[in-house]
Amino acid sequence: MTNFKNYAAPPVNKKEILRYAGAKDGRDLPAGLLEDVLAEAEGSVEYKVCWSFTSVKTGDGICRFDTFFAPSADLCKCLAGCDRAIIFAATAGVGVDRLISKYGRVSPLKALLFQALGAERIEALCDTFCEDISKSEGVMLTPRFSPGYGDFDISYQKDIFALLDCRKYIGLTLSGSMLMTPSKSVTAIAGLTEAAGEKTGKCDLCGNKDCAYRGNI
C-alpha cells in the first residue's frame, strides 16, 4: 500500500542554495537578496512524500521488486545484501515552479535563485524523510538511487508512478518524456539494511565523474 506524509519545513542550508545557484560563496549577491527570495518562497514550498515498502532480490544484474523488475547493475550494487527496500516519491510542490516561471521571464537571476532553493528544499526533504524512515523502522537505509542514475533506465519512473499513485497522494505527475511536474521532485529507491554499513557518500555510486555538482556532500 502507499503511505503518505506532509513534513514540516526542514532547516534551510543557505550554502547549499548558493552552491546550486553557481554562486560560490555568494559574494556577488547584493545583501539581503537571498533572504528576500527565502521570504517570498515562504508558504509556497510543500514537503510531501509517498512511499511503499517492497521485497527485493538482486542477481544477474537484475533487481526484482514486488511489482516490477529492473535490469541495472548499478542499482543491484546499491541494494546488494538487502531483502527489503523502500520506493518513494517526494515533492516540494507547484509553488516553487510558479515562482521560477514567474521570474524566468522578468528576472532570470531570481529564477536561478528560486530554482536553487527548490533543489536544496527537495534534497533536504529527502534527507529528512530517509532519517525518519530509518528511525521509525529501526533500520539503516542505503543511499537513495533514482531512475536515470547510472544504468537504471529513466523509463522505470512509470513503474514507480504506477506503484505509488503519486498524483493522488502528493500531486506529482509524469510527462511523456519522463519529466516530473512539479519539477522539484524526486523518486528513488533505497535498500533497508539491519547493520550500519560503510558510509557511502551521495555521489559515490554515480558514474558521472565530471558533474559540476559532484561534491563532498
Partner: protein, 798 residues
C-alpha cells in the same frame, strides 16, 4: 425520473469507495481497475449492487481513469460501455426501492496541464471529450467530474462535458489540508469557475475525512448558488499489519456528514476507505433531515487559478496599463512579440495594488485572437490576479475566455443588439462577469435616467441567455467634464441609481472625466472619491497613479474598511522613506557603467535617463553599456564573477535598454546584430538556462525570438525560415529529450542550411553535441554570446 428533478426535491446519496474494495478483491497495485469492467464484470457489478442495496441513489461507473491517455481507442470504448452496463445491471438486480442513477465517473487524467505540466489545455479538453461522448452514448444518467486537484484540468473536463453532452454535470474537487487545491485554488475561486460554467452541483471529495473538509464545505455553502456535494474519505489511511485501515468509523463518518447536511449539503457519499456499511449508516443518519433549499447568494465574483475577487464590498481596482492605446512601447512589444515587457507591466501593477488586470492587445496588423489568448496564458504564468479580457473582437474574446484559467471579467458588452448577441453566448458558455456599457444604437444618454434605462434593457436581454444580473457590472461611462460641466454629475447619478434601483455593481474608467483639462490627476482622484461615495464597486485605473492610490487608501481608512489603518499607515510610511532623493553621481556615464558592473537596475535606468539628455541613444549603448557588460562577461569567463553577478549586470543593462527603447523613435529591432531563434526542445519544460542565454543575447544586441519550452522541431524550423535567422539555440536538460534536439537539428540542416545551431543544457557535452550534429556546444551563456558574435561577423564578411 430525471436526475435534476430528483435533486431538486431530495438529498441525494452517492456510493462509497471503489478502489480499496477492488484491491481487496485482488486488484494488484499498478493494475488499472477499469480493465475489470471487461475481465471481471461480475465482481464490478456485485460491488455496485452492494451500494444500491445499501441505499445509494447514484452509483459511479468504474470509469475514473477511463481516458485516452490510459487506454487505446478500441479498449476505451469497450471499457466504458462495459462499465456503464455493469452499473446499470446492478441497478436492475438490486431490489432496494430508492431512485437509482448511474454516473459516468471522470477522474484526473494523470498529467498536469501547461504551463506547469506538459499537457495542452485543448488536448485535455479533447481527451475528456472522448470519455464524455462514449459514456453519454452508453447511457449514463449524469456525469461526475471528481477528485480534480487543479482548476485548469477541472475547467477542461467541465468544458468537454458541456460541449459533448446534455447530461447534468457535478464537479467535485480534492482539497488539501490547507483548504485549497494542489495548484492553489480556494473554494470561492472554484465556486466562481464551476458555477459560472453551468455545472449542476459542485463540492469536495477524497483527500481528507469529513471533519477536515468541513471548512471547505462551509465556504462553498456561503458562496455557491448551486447544490453542494460532499464525498469524503473515511479519514486518513494508515498501515496496520500490511493492511490499509482508515481512522474514521462509519458512525463518526455518518454523524459528521449529517451535521453538514443540516447546514445545507445536498449530495453525499464516500470516497477512499468507505464501504457499503458506511453508506447504509450514512443513509440511516440523514433520512430524517429535510433538504435545505439552495438559494442564490447573489455574489458577483471573478476568479483566477487561486483566488476570487468579489464586487460590492471592498472597492476593486482594475489595472489598465496592459492596453496599447497611447503607449508606444507596449505597441512595439506587441508587434514584436516581446511578451517579457507585457508580463513585467502586469507584475508591476500587482505590486502597486491592483486586484484585477485589464488585458487589451488591440494593435493593427496582429492576429488578435492568437495574441490575446497567448498573452492571457502567459500572464497567468506570472500573476494570480484575475484578468479582465478587453477586446472588441468576439473571436479574440472567445479564444481568450476559453483558454483562461478561472472566471474572467469580460470587457465589454453594451446595449446594442449586435453587441449583446455576440457577447452573451460567450459569457454563458465560459462563465464570466460582463462589463456592460450603458450606451446603445442611439449613443450615450446625457442623463443618469437614460443610462439606467439602458442598464435595464441589458439585464432583460441577459436573462434571455440565462445570465443573471449578478454577472453584469455596469459601466455608466465617465465623460469629459470639459465638454459638459454636468457630465460628472450624470455619471455619479447613474452609479447611485444602478446600485439602488437595480442592485447591480458598477465600474468606471475614472480618468476619462478629466480629458481636456490640465492637472488631470487632481480631478481624477477627487472624482474617484465621489464615485466611491456614490457606491462605485470598481475602477479601471492606473495603479501607478499615486493620487488614485492615495484616494483609494484614504477612502478605505475613512470608510472603516482598513483594520487599524494598517495599509494606510504602511503606505504613508513607505512614501516618506522613498521621498529623499537619491544622490546622483557627478558623472552619469561613469555612474551607468558602475551601476551595470554592480548590477543596480534602478540606478542604471536613472543614469540612462540623465544621459539621454546629452548623448544620442546609440552612443550610450555602444560607448557605455556594451563595454561595461563586456567587462563583467570577461570577469565571468575568468571566474572572478559568478553566474548571479553576471545576471545582475545583465538585468541592470536591460533596465538601461528599456529606457533607451522608450526614448527611441524607432523600433527596438533597429541596430540589431541579427536574429537568434531560441527554444527548449520538445518534451522538455526546463527554461531557466534558456532564459539566461536570451537575456545575455539581448544585451549584446541580438534580436531574440524566444519560442518558449516544449517546442516541436517544425515550429523552430518555421521561425528560422521566416526570419532567415543565422543562429538557433536549443536547450535540453534530460537524456530523454536530447533525441528531440537531434531531430530539430536534422530538420534545420534540411530546411535552413544557412543556420548555425548552438546547444546547451545539463546533460550535454562537447562530444554529445557533435554526435547529434550541432555546430557548437556552449557550456554557458557567455560562450553562446561569443559564438553568436563570431558567427554574425563571419556572415557579414564581404
Amino acid at each position: 425520473m430525471r436526475f435534476e428533478e430528483f435533486l431538486k426535491q431530495n438529498i441525494v446519496c452517492f456510493d462509497g469507495g471503489t478502489g480499496t474494495l477492488l484491491q481487496e478483491a485482488g486488484l494488484k497495485p499498478g493494475e488499472r481497475p477499469e480493465r475489470w469492467n471487461v475481465t471481471r464484470p461480475q465482481t464490478v457489478a456485485g460491488l455496485h449492487k452492494a451500494y444500491f442495496d445499501a441505499g445509494s441513489n447514484v452509483v459511479c461507473a468504474n470509469t475514473f481513469g477511463a481516458n485516452s491517455l490510459n487506454f487505446c481507442e478500441d479498449e476505451l470504448e469497450k471499457t466504458i460501455n462495459a462499465a456503464i452496463a455493469n452499473a446499470k445491471a446492478a441497478a436492475l438486480q438490486s431490489a432496494a426501492p430508492q431512485e437509482k442513477f448511474v454516473a459516468l465517473d471522470i477522474g484526473p487524467c494523470g498529467k498536469l496541464l501547461k504551463p506547469l505540466g506538459d499537457l495542452g489545455f485543448e488536448e485535455a479538453v479533447a481527451l475528456f471529450a472522448k470519455t464524455v461522448r462514449l459514456g453519454t452514448a452508453a447511457g449514463a444518467d449524469l456525469i461526475l467530474i471528481e477528485t480534480m486537484n487543479d482548476s485548469y484540468e477541472t475547467k477542461a473536463a467541465l468544458l468537454a462535458a458541456k460541449e459533448n453532452s446534455d447530461l447534468p454535470v457535478i464537479v467535485s474537487n480534492a482539497y488539501g489540508t490547507d483548504g485549497k487545491l494542489m495548484t492553489g485554488a480556494s473554494p470561492a475561486a472554484m465556486a466562481a469557475l464551476i458555477e459560472g460554467m453551468g455545472a449542476a452541483a459542485m463540492g469536495a471529495n477524497c483527500s481528507l475525512g469529513p471533519r477536515q473538509l468541513a471548512p471547505v464545505i462551509e465556504e462553498l455553502l456561503r458562496c455557491a448558488s448551486i447544490p453542494i456535494i460532499l464525498k469524503p474519505n473515511a479519514g486518513l489511511p494508515r498501515s496496520e499489519n500490511g493492511k490499509t485501515v482508515f481512522d474514521v468509523t462509519k458512525e463518526e463518518f455518518a454523524k459528521e456528514i449529517a451535521a453538514l447536511v443540516k447546514r445545507g449539503v445536498r449530495i453525499v457519499g464516500g470516497c477512499c476507505g468507505t464501504t457499503p456499511e458506511y453508506i447504509s449508516e450514512l443513509i440511516a443518519r440523514i433520512s430524517g433531515i429535510a433538504p435545505v433549499k439552495v438559494t442564490d447568494k447573489n455574489i458577483t465574483a471573478v476568479s483566477s487559478y487561486t483566488r476570487a475577487v468579489t464586487f460590492g464590498g471592498e472597492p476593486v481596482l482594475i489595472g489598465e496599463r496592459i492596453n496599447p492605446t497611447g503607449k508606444k512601447r507596449l505597441k512595439e512589444a506587441l508587434i514584436e512579440g516581446d511578451i517579457g515587457y507585457i508580463l513585467a507591466e502586469g507584475i508591476a501593477e500587482q505590486e502597486k495594488g491592483a486586484h484585477i488586470l485589464d488585458v487589451n492587445v488591440g494593435v493593427p496588423g496582429i492576429d488578435e485572437a492568437e495574441v490575446l489568448k497567448n498573452t492571457v496564458c502567459e500572464l497567468q504564468a506570472v500573476t494570480d490576479l484575475p484578468l479582465q479580457i478587453d477586446t472588441a473582437s468576439p473571436a479574440a474574446m472567445e479564444a481568450a475566455l476559453r483558454a483562461y484559467n478561472g472566471k474572467a471579467m469580460i470587457n465589454s458588452v453594451n446595449g446594442k443588439k449586435e453587441s449583446m448577441e455576440a457577447v452573451f453566448p460567450l459569457a454563458k458558455k465560459y462563465g464570466g462577469v460582463c462589463v456592460a456599457l450603458t450606451l446603445d444604437e442611439n449613443g450615450i444618454p446625457e442623463t443618469a435616467e437614460g443610462r439606467v434605462e439602458i442598464a435595464k434593457k441589458i439585464l432583460r436581454e441577459a436573462a434571455k441567455y440565462g445570465i443573471a444580473g449578478k454577472d453584469i457590472v455596469f459601466d455608466p461611462l465617465a465623460m469629459a467634464v470639459s465638454a459638459d460641466k454636468n457630465a460628472a454629475a450624470a455619471t455619479l447619478g447613474a452609479v447611485r441609481a444602478i446600485k439602488e434601483e437595480l442592485g447591480a455593481n458598477t465600474s468606471l474608467g475614472v480618468s476619462n472625466v478629466s480629458f481636456g483639462l490640465p492637472g488631470r490627476e487632481e480631478l481624477n482622484g477627487t472624482f474617484f472619491a465621489m464615485a466611491l461615495q456614490n457606491g462605485l464597486s470598481a475602477a479601471i485605473m492606473n495603479p501607478f497613479s499615486e493620487k488614485m492610490m492615495t484616494t483609494y487608501r484614504a477612502y478605505r481608512a475613512l470608510k472603516g474598511l482598513d483594520n487599524n489603518f494598517e495599509s494606510y499607515i504602511s503606505a504613508a510610511a513607505g512614501q516618506t522613506s522613498t521621498a529623499g532623493r537619491e544622490e546622483q553621481e557627478e558623472n552619469a556615464a561613469e555612474g551607468l557603467s558602475r551601476a551595470i558592473e554592480k548590477g543596480l537596475k534602478e540606478k542604471a535606468a536613472g543614469y540612462t535617463r540623465a544621459l539621454l539628455k546629452e548623448m544620442p541613444p546609440l552612443d550610450i549603448v555602444n560607448g557605455i553599456i556594451i563595454p561595461a557588460l563586456n567587462g563583467v562577461g570577461t570577469a565571468f569567463e575568468n571566474k572572478t564573477v559568478y553566474l548571479p553577478g553576471l545576471l545582475m549586470s545583465a538585468e541592470a543593462a536591460k533596465g538601461a535598454f528599456e529606457v533607451i527603447k522608450g526614448a527611441l523613435n524607432v523600433s527596438a529591432k533597429t541596430g540589431s546584430r541579427g536574429d537568434f531563434v531560441i527554444a527548449t526542445v520538445r518534451g522538455d519544460i526546463h527554461d531557466i538556462g534558456k532564459n539566461i542565454v536570451k537575456l545575455l543575447l539581448e544585451n549584446y544586441g541580438f534580436n531574440v525570438a524566444d519560442l518558449g519550452k516544449d517546442v516541436p522541431p517544425e515550429t523552430i524550423a518555421d521561425k528560422v525560415c521566416e526570419l532567415h535567422a543565422p543562429l538557433a539555440g536549443l536547450s535540453a536538460l534530460m537524456t530523454t529529450t536530447v533525441p528531440a534536439m537531434e531531430e530539430t537539428i536534422k530538420l534545420l540542416k534540411r530546411r535552413a542550411p544557412w543556420c548555425k545551431t548552438v546547444v546547451g543544457g545539463a546533460v550535454l557535452t562537447e562530444e554529445y553535441a557533435a554526435a547529434i550534429g550541432a555546430d557548437k556546444y556552449a557550456k554557458d551563456a557567455m560562450e553562446t554570446v561569443r559564438f553568436a558574435e563570431s558567427t554574425v561577423l563571419e556572415v557579414q564578411k564581404p
